[in-house]
């Protein structure tokens, strides 16, 4: 049971949140201009990092806001939570 820091509500149990996969994947502005391979890369391919991973969470049983979390996938240590659109405060990782 992770302790996740919602940027709006503070630290809450993981059970209040839903996971949203890897963060900072921007939807292509012109999907039709992409090859099948390029589109599949956006659609299906994720980094599956061992170590630092920036990922999306939504406080679904709280304020319902989406935000990003920088977490170590090995130790589950959470380095930072930050709002959508903000620059990741933690450098490194994949």
């Amino acid at each position: 049971m992770l302790l996740i820091h919602c940027p709006w509500c503070g630290p809450r149990d993981e059970i209040e949140f839903k996971y949203g996969g890897e963060a900072h994947i921007t939807r292509p502005t012109e999907p039709d201009a992409l090859s099948d391979t390029e589109w599949a890369d956006y659609l299906f391919m994720r980094t599956n990092a061992k170590g630092l991973h920036r990922e999306r969470w939504v406080h679904s049983a709280g304020c319902r806001r989406w935000f990003n979390v920088a977490r170590d996938t090995v130790t589950n240590e959470i380095f930072a939570s930050y709002k959508m659109g903000e620059k990741p405060p933690v450098e490194g990782g994949s």
Binding site: M1, L3, D13, L34, W39, S60, R65, N76
Partner: protein, 998 residues
């Protein structure tokens, strides 16, 4: 039988009171303070069960949670509990327990059963059996289940209640022994909010089993004063009979508190509490578990752990037998020898694998004239029902062989010690990696991963003085890390140091003459022997994780708390590496078993999941509706009249709706209110069709895809105003659609000025449908309902039966339909008004089943029934609702190579050869029929009904390249025969749509 092995004095039992209990249907007596195990030993009960595979008689081995043999079924009826270790059951008057594993019975002849089972269950039995054809397993399973008899679950509902508690603390201390008490004192004195948990009924831990001294007084006096001091601190909570069984991420620790230990009753509130603790800092003071030495037939009743024997004598005033031999590789077992001797129990001999035990305790033992046989080992435990002789031989210098003649030592109990294993289970669960200590030959916690620290025996510090010192230090540092640094001037508890010599790492006694006779058990609970682990190694299962699964070593309810490390030692020996190279297996929660009741808590029955009902629900109940669950909603399924079958009721409802008027409670449809200048743009992006040209007051059907192009939801959305829409979703998907829109708005399109909000429960919806719907509505409202004034797919606000209403002219039945929405509080009144006014027209309430039939006649899909996340709008033949021009979520995916394959499954209709046959939904479809499987499956039935309006059955199906196959014959092989059908267009009724537009 009287308590023949109860000592004349000693023990923490109340001899002034006598308790009567029954075990395997015989009556015995004990005292308050006893466990079931200590009381059984006091009564001379040596055989408490049968082993799992070989059905060998088994006796009590341990005194704590690690007990592998004495598992009992406690109580009867609804409150019976299986697989409890007798060592953990506090005795109460009237207790009744039975061995879980005594088929055919505890006293049955040993030999014949053993010989029968032994050859059929070697290592890898389960693995190999599961690889065989399933029918063999079924045959085995019957025998094994009866033979194994691993407890019986109660068959009646649990009459007790269980609670869940959520709490936070600065410092959680696990374990109430000397280290844990010292840690709790230090943290509490520093001002931290402390929770101290201990699995025993009273604090003290190992001190309860010892004749130890702290501050020159009996150690338990210090324990009592520590408990008093802690009880006086406002911010300290002590939980006894509470086990920390799981250590999860971010210092989230799960505890099980057993609140009722005697005969269960509901008077005291909950029977158990599941605590979920989020701790800033954790101190693990979980102690250590003694490990045995392994020799031939070491499972014979009477072979016990030395520390357990000491505990029975010191804590319970019971000797497990009158004449006790001791077999050890360390000094600690000599505490058992000395305590037994002090209590007047006869010591047969001490067998020590070390050639020259030089510690203080062996010296005292020798000085008292007790024989110590050095450099020797017990090679075999002999006896019938229970041990009567230990066979001892000398070890050679390297301890790789035994030599010389066999010396037979008569004894009733053999107290064995192979050293102690720190209880690192919680540390391991916290994510930490164990580290091997060569001098004590045990795993201890390595570097901390979470905010925790270990202290005392679980940290490899076995001496009492070290436990106290480490506990104080750990408590103070945990409090300090949590921000509490108040200094204490209290005197530190002190214990004498005993000069203990090193143990000699020793695991399995070498076989006599190199050939092993008898069974050498590592895991008596699962009957895993040395030979099994060796077999696994020979067959290539070198990894400790693989060996565990292949042999089931350590997979019983005791989770291998005693014998796991011997398995590792054997593997290390065979592979020629050291134990840390083999590595330990990962410990997973729970540390000890947890009841289902505790996990379920109060979330049972009506509290298991919320039930949602519409404002008209009471009317439906009174009308005798049968209900079906749609998500959390209770929706009327059909409304049977007196004596009607479901089929008759649905036929009647279908005919009434097509020929006169039907009424459906559509309140459960998801309703999302969308407002803002960018509302049209949002809809344009999430729906596959175009939305910018929709006029105010008009409705449009839309499809939503996920980004992979698969249909996700569908529904009608209405433009209520320039910047205001009402979106409808399927009943079960309403929350998902709102979450989906919010996700896109927050994460990808924050620039859009639009809000979406669920209003599903703000409105009640009655949908009237059929050729007389307009006539009825005309009687209740004064707006113009003529077709050109209020055409299909449009919306008007009006009063209906006096209630302010939103009327949507949309249709899911294919008939002229009006969905009348009123504020939820008016729902029942509106419904009643419609029923009253509709009576002359034969208004007929219908449920979801009729709705499904009517829409299937029209070939209308249901998202989630015709679709399963692998179906695109194109597969459904809904190209007309997919824009070629604008972008939308999922659009690009519709052009992926996989989405334009000609053999994708496409929506078609099916008509059975015999119009009376109704295909089962989900049935597989083949084009080429063969005698037996495998046959190529080209699709499956998604919806199938009898249609009273058409006079025959209809079905919708997804079939590979289906649209090209129209007119082809296909087969549906079923158990009991094959049905034949023809592929048709999916629209069976009124394909021009004249009725719904009329």
């Amino acid at each position: 039988m009287s308590q023949i092995y109860r000592l004349a004095e000693g023990g923490r039992i109340d001899r002034s009171r006598t308790l009567t209990f029954s075990f395997n249907k015989r009556k015995y007596q004990g005292h308050p303070g006893d466990t079931l195990a200590s009381a059984l030993l006091a009564n001379g009960v040596s055989v408490v069960g049968r082993s799992f595979k070989y059905h060998r008689p088994r006796g009590i081995v341990a005194a704590g949670v690690e007990e592998p043999n004495a598992l009992v079924q406690l109580g009867t009826g609804a409150r019976t509990q299986p697989n409890l270790p007798a060592t953990m059951i506090e005795l109460f008057d009237g207790l009744s327990a039975e061995s879980v594993n005594c088929w055919p019975n505890v006293d049955y002849d040993v030999g014949s059963i053993t010989q029968w089972f032994s050859p059929i269950m070697p290592a890898g039995f389960y693995y190999k059996t599961f690889m065989w054809p399933a029918r063999y397993w079924m045959a085995y399973e019957r025998v094994i289940r009866r033979a194994a008899g691993l407890g019986k679950a109660p068959t009646q509902p649990d009459p007790d209640i269980y609670d869940k508690m959520h709490t936070h603390c600065d410092v959680l201390v696990v374990g109430g022994g000397p280290a844990g008490l010292a840690a709790a004192l230090a943290a509490g004195r520093a001002g931290a909010r402390v929770i101290l948990v201990d699995q025993q009924p009273e604090l003290g831990g190992q001190l309860l089993a010892e004749r130890a001294v702290v501050n020159d007084e009996p150690a338990l006096d210090w324990t009592n004063s520590a408990a008093r001091e802690l009880a006086g601190m406002d911010d300290v909570r002590m939980l006894s009979r509470t086990t920390a069984f799981g250590y999860y991420e971010h210092n989230y620790v799960a505890l099980l508190e057993r609140r009722q230990t005697g005969p269960s009753n509901t008077a005291n509130g909950s029977r158990e509490r599941l605590w979920k603790v989020r701790a800033k800092q954790v101190v693990l003071a979980t102690g250590a578990i003694e490990r045995p030495l392994v020799f031939a037939d070491n499972d014979r009743p009477g072979v016990m752990l030395a520390g357990a024997v000491r505990q029975y004598v010191n804590r319970y005033g019971v000797t497990p037998g009158p004449r006790i031999a001791v077999f050890t590789n360390n000094d600690d077992a000599y505490r058992t020898v000395l305590d037994l001797a002090d209590s007047g129990v006869r010591i047969a001999a001490v067998v020590d694998v070390r050639t020259d035990p030089v510690g203080e305790l062996p010296e005292k033992t020798i000085a008292r004239g007790i024989e110590v046989i050095k450099g020797s080992a017990v090679v075999r435990a002999k006896g019938g029902w229970r041990l009567d002789t230990a066979e001892v031989m000398a070890l050679d210098g390297s301890a790789e062989t035994v030599t010389g003649s066999v010396r037979r030592i008569p004894c009733d109990v053999l107290a064995v010690s192979g050293g102690w294993n720190p209880a690192i289970h919680l540390f391991s669960q916290s994510g930490g990696k164990a580290r091997f200590l060569d001098d004590t030959a045990c795993f201890v916690p390595g570097a901390s991963v979470q905010a925790e620290r270990s202290a005392g025996a679980c940290n490899g510090a076995f001496a009492l003085a070290d436990c106290l010192a480490e506990g104080l230090a750990a408590g103070a540092s945990a409090a300090s890390a949590a921000g509490f640094t108040r200094k204490s001037r209290r005197k530190k508890p002190a214990a004498d140091t005993v000069g203990e010599a090193a143990l000699r790492p020793f695991w399995v006694v070498p076989a006599v003459g190199g050939k092993r006779r008898g069974k050498h058990f590592l895991d008596p609970h699962n009957d895993v022997s040395v030979a099994d682990v060796e077999l696994a190694q020979r067959e290539g299962y070198e990894s400790s994780e693989l060996t565990k699964r292949y042999t089931t070593l350590g997979m019983g309810t005791d989770q291998g708390k005693t014998g796991n490390i011997h398995g590792l030692a054997i593997m290390a020996g065979m592979r020629g590496v050291d134990i840390p190279t083999v590595g330990t297996t990962t410990f997973r929660p729970p540390y000890t078993p947890v009841t289902f009741g505790a996990f379920a808590g109060r979330d049972i029955g009506g509290l298991y999941d919320p039930v949602r009902v519409t404002p008209m629900h009471r009317w439906h109940v009174n009308a005798g509706a049968k209900f079906e669950d749609v998500g959390q909603w209770k929706r009327p399924w059909y409304f049977p009249q007196e004596g009607e079958t479901m089929r008759e009721a649905v036929d009647r409802e279908c005919l009434a709706t097509r020929n006169a008027i039907g009424i459906l409670d559509a309140s459960t449809l998801g309703k999302i209110d969308i407002q803002g200048p960018d509302a049209s743009e949002l809809l344009n992006r999430v729906y596959t069709n175009a939305w910018k040209q929709l006029a105010v007051g008009r409705c449009r059907y839309g499809l939503m895809c996920t980004e992979d192009g698969m249909l996700f939801d569908d529904g009608v959305t209405t433009r209520l105003g320039e910047n205001h829409y009402m979106m409808s979703t399927t009943s079960g998907n309403a929350a998902r659609v709102l979450a989906w829109i919010e996700e896109w708005l927050q994460t990808e399109w924050p620039e859009l000025k639009v809000y979406a909000n669920s209003v599903t429960e703000s409105w009640a919806t009655a949908a009237i449908s059929g050729p007389l719907a307009r006539t009825l509505l005309g009687e209740l409202t004064d707006i113009d309902l003529a077709n050109d004034a209020f055409p299909h797919m449009s919306f008007q606000e009006a009063h209906v039966a006096g209630f302010p209403a939103r009327i949507f002219r949309v249709s899911f039945t294919g008939e002229t339909s009006f969905e009348i929405n009123v504020p939820a509080s008016h729902g029942l009144a509106l419904w009643t008004a419609l029923m009253d006014a509709g009576e002359p027209y034969g208004i007929t309430p219908f449920g979801t089943e009729t709705m499904h039939v009517l829409r299937a006649e029209k070939g209308f899909i249901i998202a989630g029934q015709e679709t399963d996340g692998t179906v695109t709008p194109i597969d459904l033949g809904m190209d007309w609702a997919v824009s070629k021009k604008k972008d939308f979520i999922g659009k690009r995916s519709l052009n992926r190579a996989d989405c334009v394959r000609a053999d994708r499954k496409q929506l078609v209709g099916l008509l059975t050869e015999n119009p009376k046959d109704v295909l089962p939904e989900g049935a597989q479809i083949v084009s080429e029929l063969k005698d037996r499987p495998p046959m190529e499956m080209i699709g499956h039935v998604t919806s199938s009904y009898h249609s009273a309006n058409l006079g025959h059955s209809i079905a919708l199906a997804l079939i590979k390249g289906g649209r090209e196959r129209t007119g082809e014959t296909v087969h549906v092989p079923l158990v009991g025969g094959t049905l034949t059908a023809t592929i048709t267009d999916p629209v069976f009724f009124d394909p021009e749509g004249a009725r719904l537009r009329g």
